[in-house]
């Protein structure tokens, strides 16, 4: 009986989906809509000033800002950074309790109720996108009404991170299954991509060569964040073009 269970789980290791994202830096204006969308969708706690001063900001998605050059030939570059969902993820093998794992769709999952808070994964992540609940966060009433029932509220001592809005993927899968089809391109979007005013963030199935995200990832402008580390991220960036005049 148990053997059967293992086999069915084994079969689930292959999936027709490989979720990925393309971020077009030529479109990104750095406006921050994605940051709030992510926080709203995923019950990410509100961090007070002193927490952020300690480097304990909990945003799953941040926008890195780079200054290049000096006045008046100065430029700014923005880089939205979220979990890169690496296929060779440095965070996964170091977890002593298998809280961080790779799911068949290519996502780096995080099992909150298994996490014991060693923070090894966070230390090992070159992108610094894993955030740890150093404090117990509260949502003063009635602010707690905004908490989404689809996702757990993580307690103190737990590591958390971007999930590509797995609850949305799950919902789309159920809908698709009910109709006996695959998820259509563009049907499921994480909160950040959904709200991005400039359409800089595009999400989809990399395993489908015709999906918008796969087509964009073949752009000559494509690069990956810290590509030389060999983590094979699921997130691809497209270089900002032009700007030759500084």
């Amino acid at each position: 009986m148990t053997t059967v269970k293992v086999e069915s789980a084994m079969q689930k290791q292959t999936s027709p989906y490989k979720w990925g994202m393309v971020i077009d830096l030529d479109r990104c204006t750095g406006c921050g809509a994605c940051v709030v969308a992510c926080q709203a969708e995923n019950n990410v706690p509100i961090c007070e000033k002193h927490e952020i001063a300690e480097g304990r900001d909990m945003h799953w998605l941040r926008i890195e800002r780079f200054w290049v050059g000096e006045y008046p030939d100065v430029r700014v570059r923005f880089l939205p950074v979220l979990c890169q969902h690496c296929h060779d993820a440095p965070c996964e093998p170091v977890c002593p309790v298998y809280a961080s794992y790779h799911n068949p769709d290519g996502l780096n999952g995080q099992v909150y109720n298994r996490c014991v808070g060693t923070r090894y994964c966070g230390n090992n992540c070159p992108y610094a996108v894993r955030v740890f609940n150093f404090y117990r966060h509260e949502w003063p009433k009635p602010l707690d009404n905004q908490l989404s029932p689809d996702i757990t509220v993580r307690s103190r001592g737990v590591m958390e991170k971007c999930t590509f809005c797995i609850q949305r993927i799950r919902r789309a899968k159920e809908d698709a299954k009910g109709e006996g089809r695959m998820i259509r391109d563009g049907e499921v979007q994480p909160a950040c991509a959904q709200t991005c005013p400039t359409d800089a963030l595009v999400f989809g199935n990399m395993a489908d060569p015709d999906s918008r995200v796969a087509r964009l990832a073949r752009s000559p402008r494509r690069f990956q964040f810290l590509e030389h580390l060999g983590t094979h991220p699921s997130v691809h960036y497209l270089k900002g073009g032009g700007r030759e005049h500084a």
């Binding site: 406006c31 900001d57 905004q146």
Partner: protein
């Protein structure tokens, strides 16, 4: 358990363990402990269409509601303004609804004025107090002793407010917003005889030059133009639109530009005219456009003779080569469009500078053309000088000619001190606030009659810039009210009823909702038969009335009587020796004019340029800062002729050395736990009366000096203070 069963199970487990030994640990362990996809079972949620009234852009929203509680706000894909997209502020109005410090029910002042001490009362009592105050005015034949101060309202709400004041018999209704585009209406009516706001076709343009128009942060319709900007950059296969930004500070919008021209503040209009002159001299203008607008290039060139290249270069502080290059690019790339924004407008020569920039659109043939500029489809008449109205009201209040002031919004925070509004308001014996939270204005009030939050309200939201099509968003309550609050227009209606039949005559409707239905029916009825209930439900379901007719409205045409734009020399408050630096106040993408400050998501949102959280800061050029001995995060004092504030310094590479900039929005005395006492309000520095000028909304025409106080600025940034130097690693 029987012994036999136990042994059977034991054997099975052992066998499994042996079998599993050959497999990687990952596959062995995880299936047991992790149900597929973390056992997430998404609940069934309802989506309600509504509209956002946080800023005047008026985007359409969809609110996800489960178990009767609003959970998440998304853009309405059918709404022509935002097309399913939404900014940081729009998503945060959820926290307006569930803010822990909302005013739960009507309040009556119990301590001295401004003490913030209130006693909760019932609506019956609250309305009775208000009615009594108004009845006293009526009895004493002093109905013009009533004032109503609101933001610039549109749609049905504007009608209610106007009718209320008209039938009560008071002319003192001021609708004022710090950032309202009065300046644009004024410039348009001077140049085109048509005050309708412009709609820029960014998506189709190939060359955009923005003179201080920060469309990513706040200019007209940030989400709409953000979307169009994405299209302009990468939405076309072979064309990538080019973007040049003119302005002394590199704003968030400027950060996306290909070229940044840090022109001296107040010189932008002259720069535009200098470019126009170059275009005319080199015959790079659009001939047809001149014919269509009844202008002659030779006459115009003659009129612009003064703006020759050396003079313009000297005024703007830019190099001649760059000006020539940009002018040529602008003229030879079609379609090209020029935008004028707040940074330019809020100078003493603002109106004429804006007209000068519009002239560039005429010259390049971009008026009423794809990729150019059109009058907005939802054109509405509106005030061109609400600041003047505000100053007259201040004068009336100062002469003690106002006994009751009804205030919606937070003008005490969002109006510069130097207008005298705060002091004049303190003389008003009875102040009523309709704020949802005890903001700076509500703290001064005698009576607080809390309005519904946006997500609990009915209403029509007329967007400021909806494109060439007309769109009217419809706001509906998506949850039952959290507290015992009432909608502002309903309170006005109820008060009118209590004041007697003469006062109630303009309001035959039972409630604001009925009135709204009437307005919408009228808007529809003119075109088609109206089957009220189903049509109404259909409107609500779609989120409003979106007209997609493609008929070309009347476009912009230069008025024969319009003068050639002639921006005067800019004037600044404060002597250059004593106050060597220009001050620029600007909107951060989080707070707008300050209304976003009470919401914690926005407080925690790192400012994109400085990455500062939960605070105010002043941006200083690295060289200037070094000269003053100021380091990143130091506490400094910024002093202007009318005032001084202390705040931490941010060393900012993207600002002119003779300029400092402070974001608007912080420095609330009230506003709930997240805003109160946080940061400073730069409007305290802004002078309104500048020597030799009429009082005008020239928020960027003040000079300041900066002195270092200590190293304890308590500044918190998310990013590295100096910016990252690893940009080559990410190939940008």
């Amino acid at each position: 358990m029987k012994r036999r069963t136990f042994l059977q199970l034991g054997a099975m487990t052992a066998a499994t363990a042996v079998l599993d030994g050959c497999r990687p640990a990952n596959e062995k362990l995880i299936p047991y402990l992790v149900p597929p996809d973390e056992g997430v079972t998404p609940g069934k949620a309802n989506y309600y269409a509504s509209a956002c009234r946080f800023c005047p852009a008026g985007c359409g929203i969809l609110v996800r509601v489960s178990e009767g509680r609003a959970k998440k706000i998304e853009g309405n894909p059918d709404h022509p303004v935002n097309r399913g997209k939404l900014c940081a502020r729009g998503q945060s109005i959820l926290q307006e609804l569930y803010h822990p410090d909302r005013v739960p029910q009507p309040l009556k002042r119990s301590g001295p004025q401004g003490s913030g001490k209130f006693t909760p009362i019932s609506w019956e009592e609250g309305l009775a107090i208000l009615t009594e105050q108004l009845k006293t005015l009526q009895r004493e034949q002093a109905t013009d002793w009533l004032a109503l101060v609101t933001p610039q309202l549109r749609g049905t709400l504007a009608e209610v407010a106007a009718s209320f004041m008209r039938s009560f018999g008071s002319p003192h209704h001021v609708s004022f917003d710090l950032l309202s585009p009065d300046w644009l209406k004024l410039a348009n009516s001077r140049s085109f005889g048509n005050q309708s706001l412009p709609w820029y076709d960014l998506a189709e343009t190939r060359y955009l030059i923005s003179f201080g128009a920060d469309f990513v942060e706040s200019h007209l319709s940030p989400v709409h133009y953000g979307h169009a900007f994405g299209q302009m950059r990468q939405g076309r296969d072979t064309v990538r639109g080019h973007f040049t930004y003119v302005g002394g500070r590199m704003s968030l919008t400027a950060a996306s530009a290909d070229r940044w021209l840090p022109a001296r503040p107040g010189s932008e209009g002259a720069l535009a005219l200098g470019m126009a002159r170059l275009l005319l001299a080199d015959s790079l203008y659009d001939n047809a456009a001149f014919a269509a607008n009844g202008l002659r290039p030779e006459t115009l060139l003659k009129a612009l003779e003064r703006y020759d290249l050396p003079m313009v270069a000297q005024l703007s502080g830019l190099s001649q080569d760059v000006i020539v290059e940009v002018a040529r690019e602008f003229a030879t790339t079609r379609p090209a469009v020029a935008m004028a924004g707040e940074t330019v407008a809020f100078q003493t020569n603002g109106a004429e500078s804006v007209r000068a920039i519009q002239l560039l659109n005429l010259l390049s043939g971009s008026l009423n053309r794809p990729g150019g500029v059109y009058p907005d489809g939802g054109a509405m008449a509106g005030p061109e000088n609400s600041f003047g109205d505000l100053l007259s009201l201040v004068e009336v209040m100062r002469r003690d000619r106002i006994r009751v002031a009804l205030i919606h919004g937070d003008p005490v925070h969002a109006i510069p001190q130097t207008t005298g509004f705060r002091e004049a308001l303190a003389r008003v014996p009875f102040i009523v606030s309709f704020s949802t939270i005890l903001d700076d204005t509500a703290m001064q009030a005698d009576l607080v009659l809390p309005d519904h939050a946006c997500l609990e309200s009915w209403g029509d939201v007329v967007p400021l810039s909806s494109g060439r099509d007309k769109a009217i968003g419809l706001m509906q309550p998506v949850v039952t009210p959290v507290f015992d609050t009432r909608q502002f227009p309903d309170v006005l209606l109820a008060t009118a009823k209590r004041l007697g039949s003469r006062m109630a005559a303009p309001f035959p409707h039972e409630s604001y909702l009925e009135m709204l239905k009437g307005t919408m029916a009228k808007r529809l009825g003119a075109r088609s038969g109206f089957d009220s209930e189903t049509t109404w439900v259909d409107l609500l379901r779609r989120g409003g009335l979106f007209e997609t007719s493609r008929e070309q409205g009347k476009g912009y045409r230069w008025v024969a009587a319009a003068t050639v734009p002639a921006p005067a020399e800019p004037r600044f408050a404060g002597d250059e020796k004593e106050f060597p630096l220009h001050l620029q106040v600007y909107t951060s993408p989080a707070f707008h004019d300050g209304r976003g400050a009470p919401l914690p998501w926005l407080q925690q949102l790192p400012d994109p340029m400085s990455t500062v959280v939960w605070d105010s800061w002043v941006e200083i050029n690295p060289k200037t800062a070094a000269g003053l001995g100021i380091k990143f995060g130091d506490l400094v004092e910024v002093t202007s002729p009318p005032g001084s504030i202390r705040l931490p310094a941010v060393i900012y590479p993207g600002i002119r050395p003779d300029m400092v900039a402070i974001p608007l929005g912080q420095g609330h005395q009230g506003g709930g736990r997240y805003a109160m006492g946080r940061g400073v309000n730069p409007l305290d520095l802004v002078a309104v009366k500048i020597d030799g000028e009429q009082p005008q909304p020239a928020w960027n025409a003040t000079r300041v000096r900066v002195t270092r106080i200590s190293e304890k600025g308590k500044l918190v940034t998310v990013g590295h203070p100096e910016g990252s130097f690893r940009s080559e690693l990410i190939e940008i």
